[in-house]
């Protein structure tokens, strides 16, 4: 089977100054039980050097979106929409054409560093090979550069460490090696998918620092995928909130963290315990659970969990509307109602099991 790709009549190249433009990206997986609508019309633009975070619950489509951009999805995936790198369409390229972009122009970092490292070669050699794959330099020069890169990502004694095999390193060091490989060819875009999720916090801080060093050295733009809102707050300029295969809120980190305009975002923020707040204020869980991506009903997929839901929400899925700031978008029919509203005002600080219930059930119980 071949990937079914239906390229939208794209706009002309070089639109603005974006390095990466994703437009109406849609990914479906036909399975025995039905079609999984993993990504449902995702659009974003990434300016050179900017850092954009994507956050969302497990299964919301964050990884599939990135894999589609990188041309790494299985052939069974049905992909449509458009992905342009510096104005050039990537979707529909052959594997060979993709290989010229991958690793050179766009680099990807995965959660588990072992998936990107070869256990039988030293890490120095692996970085050097990434350099040799796209550059006409001597082996010696590539190896010297590898050691330099290891130093940039904060690995102590890089000359010695270059001779280590992946299994001789800790998880945090391996992830820094992967970052060194990602920056080896001076990419324009780095996509990092949960790069620190499996790591301890002090190690996470080291890896995030390595990522910042890589950006500073290459000037690359960053797409940072994570479920940790704290990581995004500290390392992204803009944020996209993803829910059930869609981006449901977009804006600068300040807009979205301080003035969320989509009830789901507000709910996420309200359910977080805070290191910087002492009190034992009640947390406000979001009731219910995310929908199945098979046979999604019409309307807004957050409706069954939403305290603001009205009949129109079940009928019509909202577009991304501009809110009070033009670049701050929200996919909620009632985003104006969130102005000045706190999570505690909208969501209830309940302690009962809420996964099978709706906000209305809770009202009845109280």
């Amino acid at each position: 089977m071949t990937a079914e790709i239906n390229i939208q009549s794209g706009r002309k190249a070089g639109d603005g100054a974006a390095v990466l433009e994703v437009e109406n990206l849609t990914v479906e997986f036909p399975t025995e039980d039905g079609v999984v609508q993993a990504v449902r019309g995702v659009s974003y633009r990434l300016a050179p050097g900017e850092a954009m975070g994507i956050v969302g619950e497990s299964g919301s489509g964050k990884s599939v979106t990135s894999m589609a951009i990188m041309g790494l999805l299985p052939k069974t995936a049905r992909i449509s929409g458009s992905v342009r790198f510096r104005g050039e369409e990537l979707l529909g390229r052959s594997e060979n054409e993709y290989a010229a972009v991958r690793g050179k122009k766009i680099a990807m970092i995965f959660q588990d560093p072992l998936t990107s490292l070869n256990p039988v070669y030293t890490v120095g050699r692996q970085i050097a090979e990434a350099i040799l794959a796209h550059n006409d330099v001597s082996k010696k020069a590539a190896m010297d550069r590898a050691v330099e890169l290891l130093a940039t990502v904060g690995i102590p004694f890089p000359e010695q460490r270059a001779n280590n095999y992946p299994h001789e390193m800790s998880g945090g060091m391996r992830q820094r090696v992967v970052i060194a490989i990602a920056m080896a060819n001076d990419p324009d875009v780095i996509i990092a998918d949960e790069p620190t999720t499996a790591l301890d916090v002090t190690v996470q801080a080291q890896v995030l620092e390595a990522l910042e060093a890589a950006r500073a050295a290459t000037g690359a733009a960053l797409v940072l995928i994570t479920h940790d809102l704290g990581v995004i707050a500290g390392h992204a300029d803009r944020i996209c909130v993803m829910y059930a295969g869609k981006l449901v809120e977009k804006g600068t980190v300040d807009q979205v963290f301080y003035e969320p305009r989509m009830p789901y975002t507000l709910g996420l923020l309200g359910s977080l315990p805070r290191l910087d707040e002492g009190g034992r204020e009640r947390l406000t869980p979001i009731v219910g659970s995310p929908p199945s991506l098979m046979n999604l009903p019409p309307g807004c997929p957050f409706t069954p969990r939403c305290p603001l839901a009205q009949p129109v929400c079940e009928e019509r899925e909202p577009d991304l509307y501009a809110t009070d700031a033009p670049a701050h978008l929200s996919a909620c029919h009632f985003h104006e109602k969130l102005v000045g509203v706190s999570a505690a005002q909208l969501f209830r600080p309940t302690s009962v099991d809420t996964e099978g219930v709706t906000p209305r059930d809770l009202e009845v119980q109280q």
Partner: protein
Amino acid sequence: MTAANVAEPAVSAGREPVLAVRDLVKHFPVRSRGLIRRRVGDVHAVCGVSFDLFGNETLGLVGESGCGKTTTGRLLLNLIKATSGEVRYDGRNLVDLSPSQMRPLRRDLQIVFQDPFASLDPRMTINEIVAEPLQIHGLYGSRTQGRDKVRELLRMVGLNPEHGNRYAHEFSGGQRQRIGIARALALRPKALVLDEPVSALDVSIQAGVINLLEDLQDELGLSYLFISHDLSVVRHIADRVAVMYLGRIVEIAEKEQLFTKAAHPYTQALISAIPLPDPRKERSRQRITLTGDVPSPVDPPSGCRFRSRCPKFANELTDAERQKCVDEVPALIDRGQGHASACHYAEALKLV
């Protein structure tokens, strides 16, 4: 060897602790590969840990992977044999008790495990899972009495008692964690060890379970040892916090003290490494980044175990000062108000 660490933890104003832990040690043997599997060393998992757990309080136990949190929790309930040390409960040292001597005490001391998927038998219904401890301890009573008790327990943890006939695999992670809590509560315990009870859950589900644990504590007057690597959760739920590094408690204090006046360089690094979901604060924060990796617990550094990664040791101390870190295990010394830290050069810092 660990004499320096035995210092009595500061007792909060004459209260009697429910559990008193003194100089607890656990070594796991490391054996060679191959047929003969000689003992070639020890994992120093827990090394001279002392603390008190008071009635109706939550003591948070935090630290990074492998520092000995789970081992400490299990030692507390005598689920694994301590190498040495004491766990005092109700006038007895649990460490010396046999399994049959422990059984009656199990009613009072219960544990909830991290992984709600692994800790429940998939072939049992929820009713059976929750009823089992009651039956083992002869508290189930008649069938109607027993059924009512189970229904009440399910209601208590926020589950619908109508779902009692379903199997564990039909429930989500958050729901399974509630089932685990219902089971632990069945015998009306006094103290619960909660080992990473919300770590596997998405934040929106985690919030409900945290609320539940708070409600239950208020209603039932429970004491919690709340084990977690997530300091944000611990700041929310705990009254006091103990920080572990490589088998030792390096700092213990009332929660506000610990988070606003952390005195041990490791606690400081840990707090400053936690990302805050607040962009303005993130932009202006002071970060203390550690270098190097956690040393092997088979061969921990002499003196202060944190010195190989300590920014203070590396950047601020003179050679003479450093020598003390190499030679002497820093004692866990109370520096006032029950705030104890184990650093020769402790100095309070406000980081959040």
